[in-house]
C-alpha cells in the first residue's frame, strides 16, 4: 500500500526523486565553465541593478489602473445611492406633504407632526381621518375605474355601429383610441390626416400592466340572450353547490389519482342525482361547441338543416383518421389523410389515451394541457398570429408582466434591443397576436416560449 499523500501527490516518491533532481541541477551548473558562470552572474547583477533603478514598469501601472477602476466603481455606486436616496426622500416628502394637506387644518400645516407626544385622542382622530381619506380614495378610484370601463365599452359599441352603418351616423366622431384599447382598424395610416395621427400619438396605448385585455368588444346582454336562444346555453344549477367540498382534495394524491371510495360524501362526483343532470348537460355543451366550430366554416345546423350533426362532421374536413401503424401500408402517404374529408391522422392508442386523460381531468378537476408544434404557418407567424393552429391567449404571471415592453413608434428599435438583451439573460420573447407588441416573456426553461393559459 502506498503511503497516504495529500492532494494525490505521493510524498515518498517525490522524496526519492529529490536527490536525482538536485544532482541534475548540480551537474548542469558544474558543466558550465568559470567564464560562462562569471558572465551569467555579471548579467544577473546588471539586471538586478537595472530593475532597482527603473523599477517594474508594468506592475505599478496595472495596479494604478485597478485602483482607478475601483475608485470609479465606488464613486459610481455612491452617485447611484445618492440619487436613489434623493428620490426616496423626495417621495417621502411628497407623501408627508400630501398627508399634511389632507389632515392638518389650514394655517397649521405640519403642526401635527411637530408634536412628539400627541395625546391618545389626537392619535385616534388622526388615524380615523387617515383611514377615512384612504377609503375615500379607494372608492373614488374604483368608481373612476368602473366609469372608465363602461365608457370604453360604450365607445366600442358606438364605434362598431358607426362602422356598420356609416350612412346613418355620418357626422358622429369615430370612437377612436380610447385609453386602453387599440384596434388594428384604428391604427392611423398614411392616408389619414395629421389630426388623426396626432390623436393616436396623444392617446397611445399605456404601458401594459398585468390584466387581461379583450381584443374585441364584450358581448352585451341582449346579444347574449339572443345567442343563447338560438344556440342553447348552460342551464344546470347545482342546488347543493354551497355544500360541496371547497378544498382541493384530489391534490392530496399523486397525479390526483384519487380512489373512488376516497371522495368526500358530499362531492359531486359521487352524487347520483347531480350526475344524472350533469352528464346530459355536459353532452349538450360539447355538441354546442362542435356546432360552433362547424358554424365557423358554414356547416352549422342552420346552414345545412337537412343533415344531422354526425353527417356534417363526417362530410367535412373535421374528421381525424385512426391509423394502425403496424398494418397500414406505409407506402400510402400520410398526406392522403388530409383534404376535403379528413383533417389529419392519429393512432388508436392516442385516441384511447386522450379519452382516458379527458375523463381523468374531468373527474379529478385537473388541468388539461395542449401543445401545438409545427411550422410557422401553424403558429400563425405569417399572418401576424391572427390565424393560428391553436388559439391561445397570453396571460402571463405578474413577474413576467414587469418586463412587458411596448414596441411602437420611435422606441421600436431600442425596445427590441432591450428584448434581445433580456434574451441573453435567459428570457425568451415571443411576438404574439398584435404587430409590434412583445407580449410574452418568461423565465421558465421548461417552456421557453409564450406563456399561455
Amino acid at each position: 500500500m502506498p503511503p497516504a499523500s495529500n492532494n494525490g501527490v505521493d510524498k515518498a516518491k517525490a522524496k526519492a526523486k529529490a536527490p536525482q533532481l538536485l544532482a541534475l541541477v548540480k551537474r548542469d551548473v558544474s558543466s558550465l565553465s568559470d567564464v560562462d558562470l562569471n558572465r551569467l552572474m555579471e548579467e544577473a547583477k546588471q539586471e538586478a541593478s537595472r530593475r532597482k533603478r527603473v523599477g517594474y514598469p508594468t506592475l505599478p501601472q496595472s495596479g494604478t489602473n485597478a485602483r482607478s477602476r475601483w475608485v470609479g466603481a465606488i464613486a459610481f455606486l455612491a452617485v447611484v445611492c445618492f440619487l436613489l436616496f434623493k428620490a426616496e426622500t423626495s417621495e417621502i416628502d411628497t407623501d408627508i406633504a400630501e398627508k399634511e394637506a389632507k389632515i392638518a387644518p389650514p394655517g397649521q400645516k405640519g403642526a401635527w407632526l411637530g408634536d412628539p407626544t400627541p395625546n391618545e385622542d389626537e392619535k385616534k382622530k388622526v388615524s380615523e381621518e387617515e383611514n377615512k381619506n384612504v377609503e375615500e380614495a379607494k372608492n373614488n378610484a374604483a368608481d373612476r375605474e368602473a366609469e372608465d370601463k363602461q365608457q370604453k365599452a360604450l365607445e366600442w359599441v358606438e364605434g362598431a355601429k358607426q362602422k356598420d352603418n356609416p350612412v346613418d351616423q355620418p357626422t358622429a366622431p369615430v370612437a377612436f383610441l380610447s385609453s386602453s384599447f387599440v384596434s388594428l382598424d384604428d391604427l392611423p395610416t398614411k392616408a389619414d390626416d395629421a389630426a388623426k395621427s396626432t390623436a393616436f400619438k396623444a392617446n397611445r396605448r399605456p404601458q401594459i400592466k398585468y390584466h387581461y385585455e379583450p381584443r374585441s368588444p364584450l358581448t352585451d346582454a341582449a346579444t347574449k340572450e339572443e345567442l343563447a336562444k338560438k344556440w342553447g346555453s348552460w342551464t344546470l344549477i347545482d342546488p347543493k353547490s354551497s355544500a360541496r367540498p371547497k378544498d382541493d382534495f384530489p391534490s392530496q394524491f399523486p397525479n390526483r389519482d384519487i380512489s373512488w371510495n376516497m371522495f368526500p360524501p358530499n362531492a359531486w362526483q359521487t352524487d347520483q342525482d347531480y350526475l344524472s343532470n350533469f352528464l346530459p348537460e355536459a353532452t349538450s355543451l360539447v355538441e354546442r361547441a362542435m356546432e360552433a366550430m362547424l358554424g365557423e366554416y358554414g356547416w352549422s345546423k342552420f346552414d345545412l338543416p337537412d343533415k344531422t350533426l354526425e353527417e356534417r362532421v363526417n362530410s367535412g374536413s373535421f374528421m381525424v383518421a385512426i391509423l394502425n401503424m403496424t398494418t397500414d401500408n406505409p407506402a400510402v402517404g400520410r398526406g392522403s389523410y388530409v383534404g376535403e374529408n379528413l383533417g389529419g391522422w392519429m393512432t388508436q392508442r392516442f385516441f384511447d389515451g386522450l379519452k382516458r386523460r379527458l375523463m381523468h381531468a374531468l373527474i379529478t378537476e385537473d388541468t388539461m394541457t395542449l401543445a401545438m408544434g409545427g411550422h410557422s404557418a401553424a403558429a400563425g407567424n405569417s399572418l401576424l398570429f391572427f390565424s393560428v393552429g391553436l388559439v391561445s391567449f397570453c396571460r402571463p404571471p405578474p413577474h413576467c408582466a414587469l418586463f412587458w415592453l411596448q414596441v411602437t413608434g420611435a422606441s421600436r428599435l431600442s425596445s427590441l434591443l432591450a428584448v434581445f438583451a433580456l434574451e441573453l439573460f435567459g428570457c425568451v420573447v415571443r411576438l404574439l397576436t398584435e404587430p409590434f407588441f412583445v407580449v410574452g416573456i418568461i423565465f421558465n426553461s421548461r417552456t421557453p416560449f409564450n406563456f399561455t393559459e
Binding site: 379527458l358 388541468t367 403558429a379 393559459e453
Partner: protein
C-alpha cells in the same frame, strides 16, 4: 375552448409552440423539455416542412 372546459371543471392550458422554418427533427430532439413533460395532447402540423410524406394532426403520445 377554455370556457367549455371550465364549465366542465377542467382548466385548459394551450401552448402555441409553432416554429418558423424548422422541421420536426430539430424540435423532437428536446421535445420533452421544449413542450413540457406533463402535456396531455400534442398537436403537430407538418404540412409545410414535411409535406412529401407525412402530414399528421394529433401526434401519438
Amino acid at each position: 375552448m377554455e370556457p367549455v372546459f371550465a364549465r366542465l371543471g377542467v382548466k385548459l392550458v394551450s401552448h402555441n409552440f409553432g416554429y418558423g422554418g424548422l422541421g420536426t427533427a430539430q424540435n423532437a430532439l428536446a421535445a420533452g423539455d421544449l413542450y413540457g413533460k406533463e402535456i396531455d395532447m400534442l398537436l403537430w402540423d407538418t404540412q409545410m416542412t414535411e409535406k412529401c410524406v407525412a402530414i399528421s394532426f394529433p401526434s401519438p403520445l
